[in-house]
Symmetry: C2
Subunit: 298 residues, 2 copies
């Protein structure tokens, strides 16, 4: 059994992206990512901090727009409009969830699709669904990179995706079943009566359902590749914080059966932020009518 | 075995839509559909004629814009721009394929999404993929109506869709797996090595692969519901035209095994045009900030 390390994949991508940043700067483009955060949800603050640190580390200019929880819809829209117009801002991310009273879909749809590095805008999501995309949502795009990095074959394989969220499951299923990728994809969800019936047939199983350690060994085919997108807090009085992080997969028993598996933490988690950086570079190049040289593999 | 009649479903929808047209006119809105056809592909002309006739029959104002094959990209774009701006035009359809030299994706993306009654625009397709749609592509939307009309259960059922086109297979799979519909959907395609392995597990099988009579009885589960989207010409010297129309399903043998099946012709075919009319009404209401009364079931 092989453990698929998010860190290893991130390092490989990071090296390529660092080259991309350098190349963009040679072309006179200073890639810049604006991150909007409204209110003081500590989890959101920690996510956003991680993104800003990663950007700076890669040489991507980052702008933090931290707004108070009382920010009005009009104020938030004015900020987005200003960033949309600013030619020096290439990526705009508005950290969700927004405080109550703010209209999330409206903000999401207001972001210029060319700068929509989260790929939440319906226009970008539609291009993705039609197989014509340029940007892809960060977590599923990161999983695609991981499968590529570890040379996990997906063409002609049965892939079962558990979960149909617009951030993970749905775009994941679309990316995998497009022409050229060619997996045969089944999407299971909370209303699937017998999920095990499907998971047992999966050559590759991707789980993002938010139920700690829910996938057991007897639900997984021998030699399957298992990608665990879940991040759940499980009470654990022996830990200083009183909890530990667990995936959606019962790692110990499933790892005894699977050909390869991602751990939690350290598997899929680290991929999301690096793919956000990649989207920022793609957006910056595109907005300046530039194309990265093929060999850079951005 | 039950034969699912497209005609029966169309008649039911037509009655409701006629009510919708009357209601819109009472509100002072005269629903209007513009159909653009470039060149003289006889098949396209016949499709477009069918659409125009159906519109007139329902009391929807129709505008035909028949342009010569030599039409330039600029001329076509100017027409779309004019129709986009015209408040008396609620739906715009540009019949595909366009003659060589014209940029199809560019035209598709130029149509105002609010008037995009084919639902080919990435913005509308993205809303569909995110489960936030107002309009849906006509053929899969028609199949949803057929399943509803004949009370075919899909929630919690295994649905296998064969084909991943952006017009049929892909949007079909999305519509079926959204929250509230809740099918567990598998998308098979030309690169699926063993399609029968999947089709045999299907409670509902939807086939749009373009291979005449390719689905045989031994590929179908007993008591499955089979929806055949294929329309293929098969040589038949005994027919006056030298061919007959055949679906993707071997109707005679599969119908002996299935619980219900759509014939070709007379099954899915008639649904597409009526759903185009429905989309036109939805677009006309939406553009005038109107909502059809619930009981009209538009």
């Amino acid at each position: 059994m092989k453990t698929l390390s998010g860190k290893e994949v991130v390092e490989a991508i990071e090296t390529r992206l660092a080259g991309g940043v350098g190349w963009l700067k040679e072309q006179g483009v200073n890639p810049s990512l604006a991150v909007i955060l409204v209110g003081d949800n500590p989890e959101s603050h920690s996510y956003v901090k991680g993104k800003l640190v990663r950007a700076e580390k890669l040489g991507i200019h980052s702008q933090d727009h931290f707004l108070p929880a009382e920010t009005t819809q009009e104020e938030l829209e004015a900020l987005v409009a200003r960033l949309n117009e600013d030619p020096a801002t290439h990526g705009i991310l508005c950290q969700l969830p927004l405080p109550k009273g703010l209209d999330e879909p409206r903000i999401t749809r207001l972001i210029n699709p060319a700068k929509d590095v989260d790929c939440f805008h319906p226009y970008n999501f539609g291009l993705l669904a039609q197989g014509e995309h340029h940007l892809a949502p960060c977590t599923p795009a990161g999983i695609m990179e991981m499968l590529k990095h570890y040379q996990v074959p997906v063409s002609g394989k049965n892939v079962v995706v558990i979960g149909r969220s617009n951030i993970v499951g749905r775009p994941m299923s679309l990316l995998l079943s497009h022409k050229g990728v060619d997996a045969t994809v089944t999407v299971c969800h909370s209303r699937t009566p017998d999920i095990a019936e499907h998971t047992r047939r999966a050559d590759v199983l991707i789980v993002g359902i938010g139920r700690p350690e829910w996938i057991k060994a007897d639900m997984v085919a021998e030699k399957a590749v298992v990608i665990d997108v879940g991040v759940n807090r499980v009470d654990d009085p022996s830990r200083p914080r009183g909890y530990r992080l667990a995936g959606d997969v019962a790692f110990d028993e499933v790892s005894a059966r699977a050909a390869a598996i991602t751990p939690v933490p350290g598997g899929v988690g680290p991929l999301t932020v690096i793919m956000l950086m990649r989207n920022t570079l793609l957006a910056a190049a595109d907005q300046n009518s530039l194309k990265f040289p093929e060999h850079m593999d951005i």
